[in-house]
Subunit: 230 residues, 4 copies
DNA sequence: GATGAATGAGGTTTCATTCAT
DNA sequence: AATGAATGAAACCTCATTCAT
């Protein structure tokens, strides 16, 4: 009757070798299964039964680890959000201040950011956030603090340094960062049907290039202006 | 025991006199209440009981008008989406080709579009779309066809005409339209916490100005370049 | 699958001839079944499932008639208590002021009161009251107001009139009423094991006689004193 | 995480130092906590978790000491009943055969008995007995054998001796004992709302006096009759 | 067309109890 | 002897949906 958590992404590998009645990382298996089910069914429709089945544990085990469905939801969301954040932050790090070709650098970081933005978990997270923001008004800050906000700030830092280095010409780095991210991600939502239709790497590359072009047409320092023409 | 639909926004006035011919707009009262409840509770959590109560009708009456909950949801969504679309399309119309000051024109249309984007129903619609896109994969096209897509196309038309008129300098109007809308709406989501925190008119104006500035820095025809500097 | 409410005392007779899907007195059937089950299982252990089964209705039907388990309990208790009260009050009425033989009159009313006190429902009610008084502190007043308290007062009235008529000699009728009822019912609890073991009519008669004897030894007016000797 | 059983009345002091020999009175701590929780919540609603928490032990420890919930309940009940019985029996002992003032003696023993009867544990015990008599039909004999029955018999013995000594005039000491106890305790239930509302010492004294008055009016030997008039 | 009453299925949560340590 | 972790069973309650009026 026990099904190892093959469905939940990360659960299978570790709970595979559980002997008689494993208890090693049931908590993680539950979190993984929970996010998978929440993402698939939405908060209300996701049943603890389903999550338990997918995690390969009994229903009350979930209640031994988490207070209730709401708490489980919060934990599953933040756990996934944290995982996503570190990747996104790493992507921002690709934009160094002393770069040979600014355009290439922006396309590169744009592609890296888009890859994070388009990841399945990332879309699932965003859909759930939209879906449950009214039921969990604190969720926005809970996930945003360590996520998008931080990313935006870090990116603004890089833009400021590029400006000081004479590679860009802009006055408000925070606003510019927001705008670059908007140019990058804005068109994706529509084209990928909120992440439910494939948006392949080629499309991502093209979107990154388009965002970069427009951004640099607006903000590249004068001498390199010509280079940023499409 | 019957409560006239005072809660659902537009329902009260008309369903007041149920006696004579009051049954013609029960359907509308149901749709209004349905959207209000769906927006507040989400699809799964919204109960037909609640909708019936808020619409001031009995539960079976809803089933006389709509096949089932799913059908009611689709109808409520499309009805609201249609209402929103006509406003948005009207907003696009404000950008005419023969305009004295390009910058002012973009700020103006940007503000009008943002007002549509930030309307309560608009955010509710967007949140529900995000929330239920996996359960109703066709919903995206159902709402998008007459909504955002059309808007984007219409806006691209105007950009093309402005380009022909020598006011803008761009090669791909569709992409440019997408990008302007991205610059316009992108920063709003974060700042308004997905529409759950106030985003007042002053902020909307500032966002429209920022989007316009960047857009025109990138795409304004040469002679007006100086004017778009911040 | 539908079982007519054969178990709950009064339900069987009426819901017998229910046609396709009866709805005549489901409410009463539910109340009867509820009291029967609560009496048998106690509040916590009594499940709505059991009550529904015993009433011959579906579970949600119960929730259509009563808010929740607690409300159902209160209604079932008060309904039964009311039924019991009218009988007890009628019993008190047997003690008229102008009576030939005081002793016979007291034995008579004593037997009538004991019959009420020893009825199955009466004991069930008392056990449930004891059992749930901490969970439902208001239950005591809810049931007592129309029940025992009223009985005690009515009985005190009769004692007062008998005193005025020169048949009794007592100063505090309320206290005397309490004491007669105590003499009457006090020994029953122990002997009938709180109503769970038979306490037949002969025993009831003997108890009524003993209570009467002692009561009249204490309170009979002087001349009849000899007659009350056992 | 372990909380010493500070909540259960008598458990705190001893289970403080669990280290050395603390396990000898874990059993007692469990029994105390069990009775406290059963009294507060009722049998069904009392959870082993709650008892374990209140006793400051882990759940399985309870199962090491007691077979199951039912067995724990029986043990907790008898333990408390035994404690109550010795006090009540001691109270009866206050009624000696060679007493100066019969009235004072009865008031004295009446007050002592009432104090036992009104103790918190005593009421809790009685409520639980009423509550669970149908689920545990043997409970009545289990608790009664060493309790009320014995008390009644002992009291009857004293009444017999007082009769032989010419202080009382009664024919059936057992019945008289029952009746005195009925006069004593009967009025209390109603006035104290089954022990849930305060019934202070003054009220206890008055009740004992009233019971004594009536009892002696009925059974005092002739010469002292006058003295027992109120 | 509109409604009051009814229901099968399923949701979250709790509980007594048991392994393995 | 004592415990942390796990579980099958079952409880209360809700919901979408349907009859019969």
């Amino acid at each position: 009757m026990r099904r190892p958590g093959v469905t939940a992404a990360g659960a299978a590998g570790r709970s595979g070798a559980v002997g008689a009645r494993g208890r090693i990382d049931k908590r993680q298996a539950i979190l993984d299964a929970a996010f998978a089910v929440f993402a698939r069914e939405g908060y209300s429709q996701a049943s603890i039964d389903l999550i338990a089945g997918e995690a390969g544990v009994a229903k009350p085990t979930i209640y031994n680890h988490f207070e209730n469905k709401e708490s489980l939801f919060r934990h599953a969301m933040t756990a996934t959000a944290d995982r996503a954040s570190v990747k996104t932050i790493a992507a921002v790090g690709r934009l160094s201040a002393d770069v040979a070709d600014v355009r290439l650098a922006f396309v590169d970081v744009g592609r890296a950011l888009l890859a994070c933005y388009c990841a399945d978990d990332s879309w699932a997270l965003r859909r759930l956030l939209y879906a449950e923001i009214t039921r969990f008004p604190d969720l926005f800050d809970l996930l945003g603090a360590s996520g998008p906000e931080q990313v935006s700030e870090l990116f603004a830092d890089r833009l400021a340094r590029l400006t000081l280095a004479g590679r860009l010409q802009l006055s408000d780095p925070v606003e510019a960062a927001e705008q670059f991210l908007a140019l990058l991600t804005g068109p994706v939502a529509g084209r990928s049907a909120l992440g439910t239709r494939p948006f392949d790497q080629a499309q991502q590359r093209r979107t990154a290039e388009a965002a970069t072009s427009t951004f640099l047409r607006a903000f590249a320092a004068a001498p390199t202006d010509a280079a940023t023409q499409r």
